[in-house]
């Protein structure tokens, strides 16, 4: 398998580029996606790491804190961006690709406020399908029932031993989760979710199977 590790006297330019479904998404709007292979299965896993991710930390007395207007554990959509109350006094804004500057400029950063663009340091996956909760139950110890995590709920938890931020963001009434983690764990987590969801109908990607 080709890697980006430098070996012996080879220069960086001579080494073949490392390719992974996660890193590919940073140069392609399409990202990597796993569609169901089994007829009738309706579960998809998409790499949507190109999504803009802004982390805002602000005290409740600040203007930015009021701008977020989303309590801890919930999320809402505003102007095409998803504002997530991920932790007490900490929000994550998920927006369209390449929208970092516009999102950051729209925030009032006066007072005790921290705004950091994590677009390229976090991987983000979207797991969609009626059985998505069953997949997460195999990897995470939280309760994924509707009464505990309804549409819009945001939690942070260990998924396959990786600390992740998870938002339930249903698509047209279909259960869907946005799962983000540190980019360095992205490939592992992508593979772990794919492995967990094998019994529900999503197969390995064609290029990996070969």
């Amino acid at each position: 398998m080709l890697t980006s590790t430098r070996t012996e006297c080879g220069s960086v330019a001579e080494l073949p580029a490392f390719e992974s479904p996660v890193s590919r998404s940073f140069v392609s709007d399409a990202g990597a996606s796993m569609e169901p292979r089994r007829p009738g299965a309706a579960l998809t896993l998409h790499d949507v790491s190109v999504t803009t991710k802004i982390i805002v930390r602000a005290g409740p007395e600040t203007v930015a804190g009021h701008q977020m207007d989303t309590p801890f554990g919930a999320s809402r959509t505003e102007d095409g961006a998803l504002v997530v109350g991920q932790r007490p006094d900490e929000w994550i804004i998920l927006g369209p690709a390449a929208a970092s500057r516009a999102l950051i400029d729209g925030l009032d950063r006066s007072g005790h406020v921290s705004v950091i663009d994590h677009t390229h340091s976090r991987a983000l996956f979207r797991l969609t399908g009626d059985e998505a909760a069953s997949v997460l139950e195999k990897l995470c110890s939280l309760d994924w029932n509707d009464h505990m995590t309804p549409d819009g709920a945001a939690v942070s938890a260990s998924v396959a031993k990786v600390t992740c931020d998870i938002v339930r963001n249903d698509l047209d009434g279909t259960r869907s989760y946005l799962i983000s983690c540190d980019r360095s764990y992205g490939q592992y987590l992508f593979d772990a979710i794919l492995d967990a969801r094998h019994e529900f109908g999503v197969g390995a990607p064609a290029d990996a199977a070969g």
Partner: protein
């Protein structure tokens, strides 16, 4: 498995948290003697019974909090309720 009641996230598997240790007041650095500092840093009560201890919710809210636990039965005294979740502010 030990279920720890995080005041922000609710009941969580202890593997999602980090056990910081017994919760004790820190001595005043301006007046504490070397013996008091040593006792604070290294000596533990380690009781078979009620113990106030600090936990860190590393996979969830990333906050430190203090709970009282019976080290014999693993029961938490007055476990907190996460009232801030899903918009229910205290």
């Amino acid at each position: 498995m030990l279920i720890v009641p995080c005041p922000n996230c609710g009941p969580r598997n202890a593997a999602d948290l980090r056990y910081v240790g017994e919760s004790r007041p820190r001595p005043d650095p301006n007046s504490a003697s070397a013996k008091e500092w040593r006792a604070y840093l290294y000596e533990r009560a380690n009781p078979a019974g009620l113990l106030r201890e600090t936990w860190y919710c590393r996979s969830g809210c990333r906050r430190y909090f203090t709970l009282e636990r019976d080290t014999v039965t693993n029961e938490f005294t007055n476990p907190p309720t996460p009232v801030a979740k899903l918009g229910k502010r205290p």
